[in-house]
């Protein structure tokens, strides 16, 4: 059971990040995470294509729109029945006003559901982690990769990743994690 060390790699562009990621994958590094200050290309996704889940934001937005529209329709059409007026059971509000309110309710439901889905799917509700040693480089457009690497392979992985570019193109930092390889796998 080899101890794991957390390796942080910062690359100045996507090409070098791709090569660094290939080195980490070849070294069977676990717990891979790639981060960037701009949307990342698909081939930098640490998950293999077959493990990537489809985004649920669009279905959530559609459900939200339906719920919002139904709620607004109920509000506009049914509340009028509660008026203390004798209407002989006839509706107080014609279809066009109900349609306008329903339309706005649909849009509101869609917007709220979309944002809720982004928050949930992006796990934005989680407490943010403490900044890593290379996080300051994110603001300068670097791409950060983090992985847990067995301590005995660290020297080789470090050398291979370092060979991806010069000092102005690749940076490394190592952090000691508390867990061991067996725990990580579990």
């Amino acid at each position: 059971m080899s101890e794991l060390r957390r390796l942080h790699v910062a690359c100045s562009d996507a090409r070098r990040a791709r090569r660094a990621l290939a080195v980490l994958r070849a070294a069977e590094a676990v717990d891979l995470e790639v981060r960037g200050s701009i949307p990342l290309p698909d081939d930098l996704d640490p998950d293999p294509p077959e493990k990537r889940s489809r985004s649920k934001v669009l279905p959530a937005a559609i459900c939200g729109a339906l719920a919002g529209g139904f709620g607004a329709w109920l509000l506009a059409s049914q509340t009028a029945l509660a008026y203390p007026l004798s209407t002989g059971g006839m509706p107080l509000i014609a279809t066009p006003p109900v349609a306008i309110v329903t339309y706005e309710g649909t849009a509101l439901g869609l917007v709220l559901a979309t944002v809720a889905a982004v928050v949930i799917e992006g796990r934005l509700w989680r407490r943010p982690q403490a900044a890593g040693p290379l996080d300051g480089l994110l603001a300068e457009g670097w791409i950060l990769a983090t992985a847990a690497v067995p301590a005995d392979a660290l020297e080789r992985v470090g050398r291979d990743v370092g060979a991806v570019g010069g000092r102005d193109e690749v940076r490394l930092a190592i952090v000691d994690p508390p867990q061991r390889a067996g725990e990580q796998a579990g």
Partner: protein
């Protein structure tokens, strides 16, 4: 996570470093310099102080009106809608600057949108907040506002959804919610960058940004979800924006008041709204470019492209205005003829012809030329259009009410000092909110600008590779 380890013995490669966060020697990109704009600056502070005084004036005047009653305003029989409704329509119109323009440009994939989207979206949110304030001010007793909300209360009554004023409430609430979220969502990655940037130097600010950035880390998962969210909101917000100003126009067009009863009022209002929105956006962009030295981001090319859109909107505005006046004039309705006389030859004629000059003649004389679409001339034209569009709202609201179908209800309207103070104070409130936003958040979307730079670099590299001999 444990503390960063030293450049340990287990770090073999020469590029393994123990001091990894020292600045890179690589030139800092445009997006990075955008982040450096955040913070208190003397010019912005002076702007905040002056606009803060205007905000104070607004609330003192409003407080005085609430205490004394609506009689202190100049509105009276038969002109019951005055400056407050004019301001309401004007600010709702200005709010079309951002969300609509930004959303249309996003959906159509216009690359030049990148530096201006946030600047525009912020205008939308603040203009909508101020626009939404005016019905409350106009109510005279704003504490009774809750009666418009769908809350079941002791009166056993629900809101009257037959009224266009009630539709206004629903539409503006939807638009404000959507616009705020549309501003906030793309802001999160930039706030996260500020959080990381200030983590060591400004702990208090970093704490604020840590809360606002939620749990953003910039992983694939998060970028994918954000991308979907922004795309859906961009598509959804366009019809909402159109519906909002259509509904505002129906406040007028659903009546039988001469000059208001028109079938083209909804598109006419929407066109006017986008026109005034672009004008305000150009004005704000020119001020930001000069004040914050953003010439490298808000380039002449961005002004040029937005200027072309501005020309198109000028032509549309002229077309709608001409159609609206031509059909009512040709119809020969006596009451409408009196409204036209008021506009063309009466006491409001100077305002009408000023509007025609600054909204139609000057933009068409300046904007078709390339020099006219440079920042300074286009900002001056924009300022003229902002003033002209406010006059247009005034000329829609007041003459139609002062010249009614009944001869014995003809009256006039002179705004009171309270109304003028509140109107000027609203401009101050807008500036105050905007200055505050610019000091706290990057007014140019750093990640979108950077994304554009990277795409350009990659495109250039691909072209170079393609041109290389095999």
């Amino acid at each position: 996570m444990a503390e960063p380890g030293p450049a340990s013995a287990a770090s073999p490669a020469p590029s393994v470093t123990g001091a990894p966060t020292e600045p890179a020697s690589r030139p800092i990109s445009g997006s990075s310099s955008v982040l450096e704009l955040v913070g208190v600056r003397p010019r912005l502070l002076i702007g905040s102080a002056i606009s803060g005084l205007l905000v104070l004036m607004l609330f003192v005047a409003w407080g005085y009106q609430a205490r004394s009653g609506l009689g202190v305003a100049g509105i009276n029989r038969p002109v019951f809608w005055g400056f407050y409704i004019v301001n309401f329509v004007f600010w709702i119109g200005v709010s079309h600057a951002g969300t609509l323009i930004s959303a249309i440009l996003r959906v159509t994939g216009a690359e030049w949108r990148r530096p201006l989207t946030r600047c525009a979206e912020a205008i939308t949110v603040f203009a909508l907040m101020i626009g939404g304030l005016f019905p409350l001010i106009h109510m005279g007793r704003p504490w009774l506002f809750y009666r418009m909300l769908p809350i079941y209360d002791y009166r056993n009554l629900w809101p009257n959804f037959r009224s266009p004023l009630q539709w206004d409430l629903v539409a503006i609430f939807t638009y404000l919610t959507g616009s705020m979220l549309y501003l906030i969502l793309p802001l999160i990655p930039d706030i996260a960058l500020l959080r990381d940037r200030y983590a060591r130097t400004h702990p208090l600010l970093a704490r604020l940004y840590r809360i606002l950035a939620l749990g953003w880390r910039g992983t694939h998962h998060q970028w994918r979800a954000l991308d979907w969210g922004i795309r859906i909101l961009a598509v959804a917000i366009i019809p909402v924006a159109v519906s909002v100003h259509s509904i505002v126009s129906w406040d007028f067009a659903m009546t039988r008041v001469p000059g208001w009863k028109s079938t083209i009022f909804a598109p006419y209002f929407v066109v006017g709204a986008i026109y005034s929105g672009i004008a305000m956006l150009l004005l704000a962009m020119a001020l930001l470019r000069g004040g914050l030295r953003l010439g490298h981001v808000l380039t002449n090319a961005v002004f040029d492209k937005l200027g072309l859109l501005f020309v198109a909107m000028t032509l549309l505005w002229i077309y709608f205005t001409f159609s609206e006046h031509l059909t009512t004039w040709y119809g020969g309705d006596l009451a409408e003829a009196r409204v036209h006389h008021e506009l063309f030859h009466g006491p409001l004629a100077p305002a009408f012809w000023t509007m025609v000059l600054v909204n139609g003649v000057i933009p068409l004389a300046v904007l078709p030329f390339r020099w006219g679409r440079r920042p300074l001339p286009i900002a001056l034209v924009g300022l003229g259009v902002v003033v002209g569009m406010w006059l247009e709202r005034l000329l829609i609201v007041v003459p139609s009410l002062s010249v009614t179908r009944l001869a014995n209800t003809v009256g006039s309207y002179v705004p009171s000092g309270v109304e003028i103070a509140i109107t000027v104070g609203a401009i101050g409130l807008f500036a105050f909110l905007y200055f505050g936003f610019v000091q706290l958040f990057p007014i140019v979307s750093a990640w979108e600008v950077r994304e554009g730079e990277v795409e350009e670099e990659e495109h250039a590299r691909a072209v170079l590779h393609a041109e290389e001999p095999a």
